[in-house]
């Protein structure tokens, strides 16, 4: 995972609430044993026609994925299945952050461990962003604020402090557990 402190990019707006991980990547694509290349299947049922052609009216910017790197979605984004294939698919597609009024617990944990930033904002900020699809914004992990250059949006957000530190430093959390091997061994000595 690469260290990051600031993301500046443009938005894709999904108005739907309760966007579940089956929408983000349908289960038929979970028979892989790799985490690579899942961007091709991100929102597959929303992006492709039955014959496999890209839908003409798709919300997703296939031509400029890297320029539209934040998904602004309705309440309770990422609910449902624990599949980590969902953040893998979003990252591989080109997304680097998700903004909503609520992002589901398991999705949040999975996203943070892969460098996809889950940003929960207040309802007024969210409503502002929903009305401006394609707006450029900055997510600042030092200041913990989401801002638009025109000053229309300037809102705080929270991340679990350890997960934030891992993002800022580009550090994998597994190392933090492995470093406590003696504590784990001591626990096992008592509890079996």
């Amino acid at each position: 995972m690469q260290a990051m402190s600031k993301i500046t990019t443009r938005t894709v707006v999904l108005e739907n609430e309760n966007v579940d991980t089956d929408q983000i990547i349908p289960a038929r694509f979970l028979t892989t044993t790799s985490r690579a290349g899942l961007g091709a299947h991100a929102f597959a049922d929303w992006r492709y026609e039955d014959d496999g052609a890209l839908k003409a009216d798709s919300l997703f910017r296939e031509d400029a994925r890297d320029d539209f790197g934040v998904l602004v979605a309705g309440h309770n984004f990422g609910c449902g299945s624990s599949r980590e294939h969902a953040p893998w698919a979003l990252l591989d597609f080109g997304f680097r952050a998700v903004i909503s009024t609520k992002i589901a617990d398991i999705f949040t944990g999975n996203a943070l461990k892969n460098g996809l930033v889950p940003v929960e904002v207040d309802a007024a900020t969210h409503a502002d962003l929903m009305e401006q699809p394609g707006v450029e914004l900055t997510i600042d992990l030092e200041a913990m604020r989401v801002t638009t250059p025109n000053g229309g949006v300037d809102a705080p957000f929270r991340l679990e402090p350890f997960a934030r530190r891992c993002l800022l430093d580009g550090v994998d959390p597994l190392g933090a557990i492995l470093a406590r091997d003696a504590d784990i061994a001591a626990y096992e000595a008592v509890h079996g």
Partner: protein
Amino acid sequence: MSEPKTLFDKLWERHIVRPETEEAPAIVYIDMHLIHEVTSPQAFQVLKDRGLTVRRPDRTFATLDHSTPTLPPGPDGALPYATEAAAEQVDTLVKNCAAQGITLFGLDDPRRGIVHVIGPELGLTQPGKTIVCGDSHTSTHGAFGAFAFGIGTTEVGHVLATQCLLLRKPKTMRITFEGALAPGVSAKDMALAAIARIGADAGQGKAIEFAGPAVRALSMEGRMTLCNMSIEAGARVGLVAPDETTLAYLRGRDYAPKDADWDAAAADWMSLPTDDGVAFDEEVAIDAASIAPMATFGTSPDAAAPVDGAAPADGGRADDAALAYMRIDRGQAFQEVEVNRVFIGSCTNSRLEDLRAAAQVLRGRKVSDNVIALVVPGSEAVRRDAEAEGLHQVFEAAGAEWRLPGCSMCIAMNGDKGEAGELVVSTSNRNFVGRQGAGVRTVLASPATAAAAAVAGRLVDPRPYLREA
């Protein structure tokens, strides 16, 4: 007198390797790790890449359930996998388990089944344990008073390598079901009624304890159904305190403690229930007697209403897009909704009690000519027990298919699925758009309600069918 504690507090405190601080989450010890073919291969790969091994293969158990066919092998002896990738995924888990010394309940093992069915069935799931699996319905095991929750694949890797996870302590919510359920109403109806009441996001960041006389009166199967659905309210953790019902279920099972160990364990488990006078972060009370058999009408599990009525006139928790997808109108009576397919199975409702409820409706009746019905037992043990009672003959005589164990149409990744536009009444847990096949419309319900829908070809109240049986 020490501070009164919730069941969850007690489970949390017992497993702290290092306590949480403002800067760092707690390191929590995991007593049992269940793995399956879909969410584990990338975790094993991380271990390989980093030169790590599985810390506690003796605390890790594997099964095959999501990608496996529910149809028997063909004339060539080969299982009819949906894709080569599915077969390869199964093979990958077999190899990873062999390489790391992990017990696998494999394709030929009489103990194989859906991960959340076999854990309890084998006595692996016990009160007081921390249990994780790369599957959101791991909340099921909370029915035993275990701290059990679903994790992502990176965390599967953490547990394989360290037997620990980094966790923040969740808040607590108690849902108390006062009174008693009416006849013909089941744990599935309790779950759908509760989720409809509080919403699909209400449990986020919380561990939900289910309490009250109607929960105490449930069998372990019913408690598992209730805890299974916690995640559909957003809660990773669902809990029921252990009691005599829990002990009676576990006693004598393969992995349950024996003899003097049993007595010590049972005494310990009975000290786990929430103390009197403890405050939960949130309390919800529901009158169990007011719950009717439920059905969902939208594309989120919280869009549920009594099946003897109609979709809410104001749409309830289903927006215009959800109702349009379901082709259900605001205020439309459920009995007008035509059914094309019925699925009885999944980690929510595929245990013996569930199959008995479905069989009670189907015995001596016929599945409607317009309906295809599939009954998929949760495990090989459930299949054996059901066949010993002749339940498979009831299903087959009614015109339903009796399949081999697995997740099947709940997640529809093994080839079992509906066709675009079909309405499926399903005893599973998610009515998401396309979950059971592209364009498939899913209605969640109890086994009895699903069986009644199979007979009627419409969404109907199962209670008259249960009374006449």
